[in-house]
C-alpha cells in the first residue's frame, strides 16, 4: 500500500494549525503561565511558535483537544486555563515598510505610531477573544456579566476624546472589535502608503506604554465575575523581524506591563537585537526572562537535550499516525535510527579501496596491521603512519605494541574519539575520495540540525521508504524491524545538507561584486577545511568558527543575519563579542567535521573579517592563507602550547 509521505511538510507550524501540539516535560511550565514576561529563543523550527500557540486562547480555550500534555504536566490537562492569550505574528515586510516611514518622518514619530498600532491590535484581539469565549461558554454570560458597561469603558479607554469616539453599528463586542481593528488597519495602510505623521495624527489618539491594554484587561476582569481572576498574555511571535526601534517599542511595552497583563515573545536565536527601551534605558533581566529552546544556547548540548528528544519523538509519531492509524505504540527514534554510530565502520562501508590505488595500498597495509591486532580503527592507523602524536608523551605512539592494555585504553579515550572524526575528513581529502558523508544516527541528526525540527523532518522525508518499511514490520507481529541502514541515513542527511546549501542566496550582495551569501559560506568552508588538513591535525583539533572581539559594523551584521536566515551560519553573541560558525547542517555538504562549531574559535579582527567576507576572491584567499599560517605556524611544538589565537 502506497502511503503519502507524512514528512513532506517540514514546517513545525504544520503541527500548530492542523495537528496536535505536544507540550513537553518542562519544570518551567508553571512559570511560563505566570505573569512573568518571557522571551523564548531558538533556531528556526525549534518550536518557539508552538509554545506561544499553547498560550493563545484559540487553542488553550477553544481547541483544547489539540494540546497533548506530557504525563508530568497532566495537572494542566483538564483544568480551565488561568490565562487568555492573543497572538501577534510579526510580519517580515513590516521591516521595510515601517523602516521607510521611519526614514521619512523620524524615529520618535515612528515609535509613537508603532506603540499605538500595537496597543490597538492587542485591544482588538482581547475584545475578540472575549467575544469568542462568551459565544462558546454559556457560564460567561451570567447575570454578573455587564457587557454594555464594559463596551462603554473600553470605548472611553481607546477613544478618550468624545468628539472622535465612534458610534458602533450595534452595542456589541463584535462591533467594538471591528472598530478597534479598523484603527489598527488604518495605521498600517497609512504606513505602507507613506502618509505623513500630521495626517495620521488626525485620526488616532496616541497610546503610551501598555496602559491602554492593561486597562482593557482590568475592565474585562471587573465586568465578568467568571473572568475576574484571569490573567492576559500579549504574545508576539518572531520579534527578530522587527527593526531595532520597533523592538524598543516592544521592550517599553514589556517594562510597562503590570497585573493582569504579561508579554511572551519569541525570537530566532541570536537575533533579539536590543534590550533598550524608547527612553534609552535597558530592560532589566527580571523584566524579561529568557528561555532558550536550544539548551543554554550551547549547541554542543543539543544532542543531549531530553526536551528536544521528547519534541522530535512526539512530532515523528504524530506524523506517522496520520498514515498509520493502526500504530498503537510510539516508534522510538533511538531504535529506528540508532542512538550512535561507529564512524570508522560507516566510513569503511562507504569506501571502496579499489577506487584509488594509493588508498588501496594504504587500506591493504591497514588490514594487515588490524589482523595482527594492533589496530581497531583505520583512523588510528592513519594518525600513526603520519606521526600525529595525540598524547603529550612523545613515547605514546610506541606504547601501542609494548603495552596493549594501555594502548587500547588510550585509543578509546575521548581525545582519540574526537581526533578520529577529524581524521576521517583528512583521509578523504588525502586520497581524493570525494565526499563520503560520514554522518548517521539519531544523536548526530540532532547535533547537525541544531535543534531545528524542520531539518529533522526533511531528513525523515528522505528516509520515508525505510521508515515506512520499519513501521510496517513493527505493526506485523511476525516480523522484527531492524534499524535503518547507516549508509542510507548518511545519504539522506547529505541530501538535506546539499539542499540547504542550494538554498543559500547566490545573488551579488553589492553592485560590481560577485560576492554572495553562498560565496561567503564557500570561503569559510575553505578556511575550515584547511584546519582539518594534516598540518593542523598535528597541532590541534579542527576550528569551525571565527571570533570577533569588537562590535560589528551594521553592514556586516546585516549580511550575517541574512546568512543565518538561510540556515547557513550560527552565531553566538556575548556582549560585543561574536562567534560565527558554519551551521553544522552544512558539514556533510562541505565535508567538514560535525563537532560543535564553537569549539576552538579563531579570533579575527573586523578588518580581516570584512576582507574575508566581502573582498574579491584573491583578497579572501590571502586572508585564508594568513589565518592558516598564523594558526598553524603559532602552534609549533607540543599540541597544547602556543594557542594564543585559539580559544
Amino acid at each position: 500500500m502506497k502511503r503519502t509521505n507524512p514528512f513532506i511538510d517540514h514546517r513545525r507550524e504544520q503541527e500548530n494549525y492542523f495537528s496536535p501540539i505536544y507540550i513537553s516535560q518542562n519544570e518551567d511550565f508553571a512559570s511560563w503561565t505566570s505573569l512573568k514576561n518571557y522571551l523564548f529563543v531558538g533556531l528556526r523550527g525549534s518550536g518557539k511558535t508552538s509554545i506561544l500557540n499553547v498560550f493563545n486562547y484559540e487553542l488553550a480555550w477553544l481547541n483544547r483537544s489539540s494540546l497533548i500534555y506530557h504525563k508530568d504536566l497532566e495537572q494542566y490537562t483538564n483544568i480551565e486555563p488561568q490565562y487568555i492569550g492573543v497572538i501577534y505574528k510579526a510580519e517580515r515586510q513590516e521591516k521595510s515598510n515601517w523602516q521607510e516611514w521611519e526614514n521619512a518622518y523620524g524615529k520618535s514619530n515612528a515609535q509613537k505610531v508603532y506603540i499605538t498600532y500595537l496597543n490597538y491590535y492587542f485591544c482588538a484581539k482581547f475584545v475578540e477573544a472575549l467575544h469568542c469565549l462568551k459565544s462558546r461558554f454559556k457560564k460567561l454570560n451570567n447575570e454578573a456579566d455587564n457587557e454594555i458597561k464594559l463596551i462603554d469603558e473600553i470605548l472611553i479607554e481607546t477613544f478618550p476624546f468624545k468628539s472622535t469616539r465612534p458610534r458602533l453599528a450595534d452595542y456589541s463586542l463584535s462591533a467594538l472589535k471591528y472598530k478597534l481593528t479598523e484603527i489598527h488597519n488604518q495605521i498600517r495602510q497609512s504606513i505602507t502608503s507613506l502618509e505623513s505623521f500630521e495626517s495620521i495624527k488626525k485620526y488616532i489618539n496616541f497610546a503610551e506604554g501598555s496602559e491602554m491594554i492593561i486597562n482593557i484587561c482590568k475592565h474585562i476582569n471587573s465586568n465578568n465575575l467568571e473572568l475576574s481572576d484571569k490573567i492576559f498574555f500579549a504574545l508576539i511571535d518572531d520579534v527578530n523581524r522587527l527593526t531595532d526601534w520597533q523592538l524598543e517599542c516592544v521592550n517599553s511595552l514589556i517594562s510597562n506591563s503590570q497585573t493582569p497583563l504579561s508579554f511572551k515573545i519569541s525570537s530566532v536565536f541570536g537575533l533579539y537585537q536590543t534590550k533598550n527601551k524608547i527612553d534609552g534605558r535597558a530592560l532589566g533581566d527580571r523584566d524579561l526572562l529568557t528561555y532558550s529552546l536550544n539548551t543554554d544556547a550551547d549547541f554542543t548540548k543539543i544532542s543531549k537535550s531530553l526536551n528536544l528528544d521528547d519534541i522530535l519523538q512526539a512530532i515523528f509519531n504524530i506524523r506517522l499516525k496520520k498514515v498509520f492509524p493502526d500504530l498503537e505504540s510510539d516508534i522510538s527514534l533511538n531504535e529506528i535510527l540508532g542512538e550512535n554510530f561507529d564512524i570508522d565502520n560507516l566510513f569503511e562501508k562507504m569506501t571502496s579501496p579499489s577506487e584509488n590505488p594509493d588508498f588501496k595500498k594504504f587500506h591493504t597495509s591497514y588490514k594487515g596491521e588490524r589482523e595482527k591486532g594492533y589496530y581497531k580503527y583505520i583512523t588510528d592507523y592513519w594518525l600513526d603512519i603520519n606521526n600525529v602524536a595525540i598524547d603529550k608523551d612523545p613515547k605514546a605512539s610506541k606504547l601501542k605494541k609494548s603495552d596493549p592494555i594501555l594502548y587500547t585504553r588510550k585509543r578509546e579515550s575521548e581525545v582519540y574519539k574526537k581526533r578520529r572524526q577529524t581524521t576521517i575528513f583528512s583521509i578523504i581529502d588525502e586520497y581524493n575520495l570525494g565526499k563520503k558523508l560520514p554522518f548517521s544516527s539519531f544523536n548526530y541528526i540532532k547535533h547537525i540540525t541544531c535543534g531545528s525540527v524542520s531539518e529533522f523532518l526533511r531528513i525523515c522525508e528522505k528516509l520515508w521508504p525505510e521508515i515506512e518499511q520499519y513501521v510496517e514490520k513493527s505493526i506485523d507481529a511476525r516480523k522484527t524491524p531492524t534499524p535503518i541502514d547507516v549508509l542510507k541515513q548518511a545519504i539522506a542527511i547529505r541530501s538535506v545538507s546539499d539542499r540547504v546549501y542550494d538554498g543559500i542566496d547566490d545573488k551579488g550582495l553589492r553592485d560590481n561584486s560577485n560576492v554572495s551569501c553562498k560565496i561567503i559560506c564557500d570561503r569559510l568552508s575553505i578556511l575550515f577545511n584547511k584546519f582539518i588538513k594534516l598540518d593542523s591535525i598535528r597541532k590541534t583539533t579542527e576550528c569551525l568558527s571565527l571570533k570577533i572581539n569588537e562590535k560589528l559594523p551594521s553592514d556586516l551584521e546585516n549580511i550575517i543575519e541574512d546568512i543565518i536566515l538561510f540556515e547557513a551560519f550560527i552565531k553566538l553573541k556575548e556582549g560585543d563579542t561574536f562567534k560565527i560558525g558554519l551551521h553544522p547542517i552544512l558539514s556533510p555538504h562541505f565535508n567538514l567535521p560535525y563537532r560543535s562549531p564553537f569549539y576552538y574559535s579563531y579570533t579575527i579582527t573586523v578588518e580581516l573579517f570584512r576582507i574575508l567576507l566581502l573582498g574579491d576572491d584573491s583578497e579572501a584567499k590571502r586572508v585564508i592563507e594568513r589565518i592558516y599560517n598564523e594558526r598553524v605556524g603559532s602552534l609549533s611544538g607540543d599540541l597544547f602550547n602556543g594557542l594564543s589565537n585559539v580559544e
Binding site: Y17, E91, K95, T192, G503, D505, K507
Partner: protein, 330 residues
C-alpha cells in the same frame, strides 16, 4: 480581428479578454498612459491605431543612461504627435525605485477632462514593472467616476535563450507590499502565499526563506510566450520547489496571457482558505499574471500583494511576439 477569449462579470467590475495576431483598435480614448521602456515591444502599441484616438497622453520615462531608452522616448513623442490631440504630458528622468512619489506625480498630471463619467483610458502594460501597472489600476478603480480602462499586452519574442537574458532584475533590496495592496490581514492567523512563478528562481526562494509562509500555492505559466516556457520556470525554481516541499500534482498551470484565469484560480484558493489564512500574492511571473493578481486585489481588499524590490532592473531587448492581448476593464 479580436477574438473574445474570456469574460468575468462581478458586482464591481467587468473584465473582457481579447486576443489577436494583427488587429487594430478602433475605439477612442480620453487618456493614454505610456511608459517608456527599453524593449522594442513597448513601441508596438502605436501600430494598433490609424488616426488621432487619444485626447490626452502622459508619457512616463525613468532615469537611464541608455541611448536606446532615449531613442524610444523620442519615438513615443512622435507617436503621440500622430495619435494624440493634445500635446502629451511628459514625466521624465524619475527614479524607477521611487514608487510612491512617482505614482503621485502621475496621478496629479491626469487632466480633469479624463475623469468624467464613462471616460475611457488606454495603457500598454508590455514594458511596465508590474508594481506601477497594478498600483495605478487600484487608484483608478478608487476614483469616482472610475474610468473604463483598456490595456494591451504584446507577447514577447526573446532575442536570446541565454540564461542571463532571462533575468530582468538583479539582486533584491527589500520586500514591500505593492502600494494600495497592503491588505488587512489578521496578525493572529497564519499566512498562505500564492507564488506566481517566473524565470527568476532565487526571487521565489528568497521570499520563501525570508517570509516563511505557513502554507503556499504555486501557479506556473503554461502555455507561455514560447514553447517549453514552463520547463524553464520549473528548472529555475528548482531550489524553491524543493525547499517548500510542494507536490507536483498541486501545481496550477495558467495561460500566460489571460489574467482572468489567474483571478479564478486565486479566488478558488481564497474561498477555501480565507477563514484560516491571510492571503498574500507574490507576482514573480509574466505581466498578465501580475495584472490578474492586481485585479483580484481590487475585488478583495483584505488580500495583500507583495513585491520584491530588486537592486536594479536589467534591460534586454524583447521583440513583439505572435499575439496581442487586449483587456477591457470596466
Amino acid at each position: 480581428m479580436w477574438n473574445k477569449i474570456d469574460e468575468l462579470k462581478s458586482s464591481s467590475m467587468n473584465i473582457e479578454v481579447y486576443k489577436s495576431e494583427d488587429s487594430i483598435i478602433e475605439e477612442e480614448y480620453d487618456l493614454a498612459i505610456i511608459f517608456n521602456s527599453f524593449d522594442s515591444r513597448s513601441l508596438e502599441y502605436a501600430k494598433l491605431f490609424e488616426k488621432k484616438v487619444f485626447k490626452n497622453a502622459i508619457i512616463i520615462s525613468f532615469q537611464s543612461d541608455k541611448k536606446q531608452k532615449k531613442d524610444n522616448l523620442i519615438q513615443h513623442q512622435k507617436n503621440m504627435g500622430i495619435l494624440c490631440e493634445n500635446d502629451p504630458i511628459i514625466i521624465s528622468d524619475i527614479d524607477i525605485f521611487d514608487y510612491q512619489n512617482n505614482l503621485s506625480k502621475i496621478l496629479v498630471q491626469i487632466p480633469i477632462e479624463a475623469l468624467q463619467i464613462n471616460s475611457k483610458w488606454f495603457m500598454d502594460i508590455s514594458g511596465v514593472p508590474i508594481i506601477y501597472t497594478i498600483s495605478l489600476l487600484k487608484q483608478i478603480k478608487r476614483v469616482f467616476p472610475s474610468p473604463i480602462l483598456h490595456c494591451t499586452n504584446f507577447s514577447g519574442e526573446y532575442v536570446s535563450d541565454a540564461p542571463s537574458h532571462n533575468q530582468f532584475s538583479e539582486g533584491y533590496s527589500r520586500d514591500i507590499y505593492i502600494p494600495n495592496y497592503a491588505g488587512s490581514p489578521d496578525f493572529s492567523k497564519p499566512w498562505k502565499y500564492v507564488f506566481l512563478l517566473g524565470w527568476e528562481g532565487t526571487r521565489s526562494l528568497s521570499v520563501l526563506k525570508k517570509c516563511e509562509p505557513d502554507s503556499i500555492e504555486i501557479i506556473i505559466t503554461k502555455p507561455g510566450y514560447k514553447i517549453g516556457y514552463e520547463v524553464e520556470v520549473l528548472e529555475n525554481n528548482k531550489s524553491f520547489l524543493l525547499d517548500c516541499g510542494a507536490q507536483e500534482s498541486n501545481y496550477i498551470y495558467v495561460d500566460a496571457g489571460n489574467p482572468l484565469q489567474i483571478i479564478r484560480e486565486i479566488e478558488t484558493i481564497y474561498l477555501k482558505s480565507k477563514d484560516v489564512f491571510n492571503l498574500c500574492i507574490v507576482p514573480l511571473g509574466v505581466k498578465p499574471h501580475g495584472l490578474g493578481a492586481g485585479l483580484f486585489g481590487c475585488l478583495n481588499n483584505d488580500v495583500s500583494i507583495m513585491y520584491q524590490i530588486p537592486k536594479r532592473y536589467k534591460l534586454h531587448e524583447v521583440k513583439r511576439g505572435q499575439y496581442i492581448w487586449l483587456y477591457k476593464i470596466n
